[in-house]
């Protein structure tokens, strides 16, 4: 065993590196290449899927991958999130609670900007993420808990254009990806949870 072990270990390490390289090998999507290359890249992707099949359980268990992206895009069309609240009894009197880089409206900035939460609400190149809705629900709940005068919370994304030559970004005044949450709905949900003996948020 002791004589064979260095060879076994060398084989295992070589296999780990090879599997990592296959996993991380940049195969373009079929849509991003010219039609004559489309079938080829599809077959590459299929071959990789087949080769990686035996290693998938381990990859899933430890949630590993070898494709790394550090700011792959640096687009100039971006968003700036607004978190607003409306006071009870008013119709359109929205108060800004939080906006990035706005010292006057920085409620819970540290919490909202925690990197894992930002990963949920920050729109990607393909638009909003699945966790965006739950994020608005959670944020609204936190606000309703602490501010009895608020009856509605709105989160929306202002479209901005990055212009470093002008010293940052240019707001467009146009919004998208708007989501709102009302106190009544939140209260119904909470009562339902309480009736079921469930635990509410807060660590």
């Amino acid at each position: 065993m002791s004589r064979a072990w260095p060879h076994v270990r060398a084989s295992l390490v070589a296999l780990a590196i090879l599997v990592g390289l296959i996993d991380g090998c940049p195969i373009p999507s079929a849509k991003s290449v010219s039609p004559e290359w489309s079938d080829t890249v599809k077959s590459w992707a299929r071959a990789r899927r087949i080769v990686m099949t035996p290693f998938k359980p381990l990859g899933e268990l430890l949630r590993l991958r070898q494709t790394w992206k550090l700011f792959p895009t640096a687009r100039i069309e971006q968003h700036r999130m607004w978190v607003e609240a409306r006071k009870s009894g008013t119709k359109d009197d929205w108060e800004i609670l939080y906006r990035p880089h706005d010292a006057e409206h920085s409620m819970w900035a540290d919490r909202i900007e925690y990197r894992r939460l930002r990963g949920v609400w920050n729109p990607g190149t393909k638009g909003t993420r699945s966790g965006y809705g739950p994020f608005v629900e959670w944020l609204a709940g936190e606000i309703f808990e602490r501010r009895a005068d608020i009856d509605r919370v709105r989160v929306r994304m202002e479209k901005i254009v990055i212009d470093p030559g002008m010293g940052g970004f240019v707001p467009s005044g146009m919004f998208e990806l708007e989501k709102t949450q009302g106190r009544m709905r939140w209260k119904r949900q909470r009562d339902k949870e309480a009736a079921a003996g469930g635990k509410r948020g807060g660590s």
Binding site: R9, A10, T73, P100, W138, D163
Partner: protein, 565 residues
């Protein structure tokens, strides 16, 4: 072709069989665990644990993309706030245990599994740095990163009386090294936006630093720094694309004695240090200008694995000499994760140690370039003291070399030539004794001594600091007495020694035991296991010789071949 493949495979097996001091892995363990623990506790301090990992409506975690099954902790304990908190606190406990090195391997496995569970529970908050740290923790689980500065090491030493070996397998460090290189390269080739290239006027960094969701400061300063940021963008891309060169640069740095113009140029321009320096600057720059949480620190936590443990030891010695032991430990940790390239001085191949105490009573060889050895006549009174024979037992040492007439033997770091007369007699008139030292006055003394004692087959040679100083394949035997502990890059030196010996050649290394009342300060001494491992790393088979020296041990290293006895 087949022979070539066999040679490559043998080299690969030998590379992964190498051993080294655990310092780099220990630092990586401490820094990675600190980064993970810090990030988790920061989430707790912000009261967002439930928000991140619990399912709606309590948090933003969700189950819609689980394929084919939910993560096992959710299957076992059900989706909910309690499960999120349970997994979180297990991860915190495992990270804390990994940090202090308690039940280290188990802690690392548990931490990797729990971090993966957290990643599955909140996949959109599971970023690249989390994948990297998880991978690092998984690799550390297989390493001996607990061999120093850990509760495990303390228990093994104090309670179980079975301390960890001096040297540990180096392959986990190589694997982490490869992971860092691939991560950068992959990040480089995944940058598809025009803003990263000349077509986009290298505006990527300026754009990112103007994005209010990431920038730490308002962008008023950016218009003034546009050219600098363009250079920074190009440098970032170049840094990432050239990352596969780092292993080559590291290899060249470690083997400066080998031929090759590119190697010489790269070493002269210190390209390895330039690359690492850019990496450190890049991540500190990110930490200062952007709000990316643990990302830059998590990346830098892996930088210790880019250094050979001997380099870290030299940096530690350099710091200790200037700021004291405790401050040096703190600074080294900081330097390893933040300023490794900047704080540590560029090490010379064999830097000088501080002058040893004069009353050492043993040959503090000229291998350390010590100016104290400038006066060989004075040192002869110490080295050639007639009383030395009682504990040095020179006849027994020479007998262990199994010399026969006609052989060529080199006495490395021979000093004033204490062994020359015996070696000369053993190889006879047709044999040859090469006596090397790096102190010119010692060489002068040995030449005069050979003439005085009519040792016609002795040749005194001035040797370089980092090599044996004799041609490859030119000697049958080598003797190294009280010298080996002075050599800093001993594995490399062992490989050089293997090249100097003929097939079947043998080396005898004589050095002081850890318990001996003679010899250098205890922290300079080496355990025999260490010497054996270092010789093995250099290509020898090595074992402890049976002898009767009261204060020293003898390790015999042999090369395969017809002359082996």
């Amino acid at each position: 072709m087949r022979e070539r493949a066999k040679r490559i495979w043998s080299a690969w097996v030998a590379l992964l069989d190498r051993r080294e001091k655990p310092t780099a892995l220990v630092l990586a363990r401490i820094l990675v665990a600190t980064a993970v623990l810090g990030d988790l506790l920061y989430a707790w301090s912000l009261d967002v644990v439930v928000a991140v990992w619990a399912p709606p409506p309590h948090g933003t975690g969700y189950a819609s993309i689980w394929d084919p099954l939910p993560p096992f902790m959710v299957r076992w304990f059900g989706p909910g706030v309690d499960t999120a908190e349970l997994v979180f606190w297990i991860a915190v406990a495992a990270a804390a245990l990994l940090l202090i090195g308690a039940a280290t391997r188990v802690s690392a496995v548990v931490l990797a599994l729990m971090l993966a569970q957290l990643g599955h529970m909140a996949p959109e908050g599971d970023r690249g740095i989390d994948f990297l740290l998880r991978t690092a923790v998984a690799i550390l689980a297989f390493s001996s990163s607990h061999a120093r500065w850990s509760v495990d090491a303390w228990l093994r030493r104090r309670v179980f009386k079975r301390p960890f070996a001096e040297l540990v397998p180096a392959w986990p460090r190589y694997l982490l090294f490869a992971q860092v290189v691939w991560m950068y390269f992959s990040a480089g080739h995944n940058k598809g936006d025009r803003a990263w290239g000349p077509l986009g006027h290298f505006k990527a960094l300026a754009n990112i630093l103007s994005d209010p969701h990431f920038a730490r400061f308002d962008g008023d300063w950016i218009p003034y720094a546009m050219p600098l940021l363009a250079i920074g963008t190009a440098t970032t891309l170049l840094f990432e694309w050239t990352s596969p060169l780092l292993p080559i640069l590291t290899w060249w740095h470690a083997t400066p004695e080998r031929p090759g113009r590119l190697r010489r140029i790269a070493n002269k321009l210190r390209l390895r240090w330039v690359w690492i320096g850019i990496g450190v600057f890049f991540h500190i720059g990110i930490a200062v200008t952007m709000r990316l949480g643990v990302f830059p620190w998590g990346m830098l936590a892996l930088y210790p694995v880019l250094f050979h443990p001997d380099e870290i030891a030299r940096a530690a010695r350099w710091l200790r000499a200037r700021v004291g032991r405790t401050a040096a430990a703190v600074l080294l940790l900081f330097a390893a994760c933040g300023g490794g390239g900047a704080a540590a001085p560029e090490p010379a191949p064999q830097p000088a140690q501080r002058p040893p105490p004069v009353d050492h009573g043993h040959h503090h060889t000229a291998l350390d370039g010590n100016p104290l050895f400038a006066n060989a006549d004075e040192w002869a009174k110490v080295f050639d003291d007639p009383g030395r024979a009682a504990w040095q037992k020179p006849d027994e040492v020479v007998a262990l070399l199994a010399l026969s007439p006609g052989m060529r033997v080199v006495d490395i770091g021979a000093g004033t030539g204490y062994f020359l007369e015996r070696l000369s007699r053993a190889v006879g008139g047709k044999g040859r004794v090469l006596a090397t030292d790096i102190a010119p006055d010692m060489v002068r003394y040995m030449k005069e001594r050979a003439a005085r004692e009519k040792l016609g087959n002795v040749e005194a040679i001035l040797a370089p600091t980092d090599d044996v100083g004799v041609p490859a394949g030119s000697v049958d035997r080598a003797l190294i007495v009280d010298v080996w502990h002075h050599i800093h890059q001993r594995e490399r030196y062992a490989a050089n020694l293997a090249r100097a010996l003929r097939p079947g050649g043998m080396v005898a290394i004589v050095d002081f035991t850890l318990e001996s009342r003679r010899g250098p300060p205890r922290d300079h001494r080496l355990a025999p296991d260490t010497v054996i491992a270092e010789l093995r790393a250099g290509g020898f088979t090595a074992e402890l010789a049976s002898e009767s020296l009261p204060d020293q041990y003898v390790v015999i290293g042999r090369l395969p071949g017809p002359l082996a006895k």
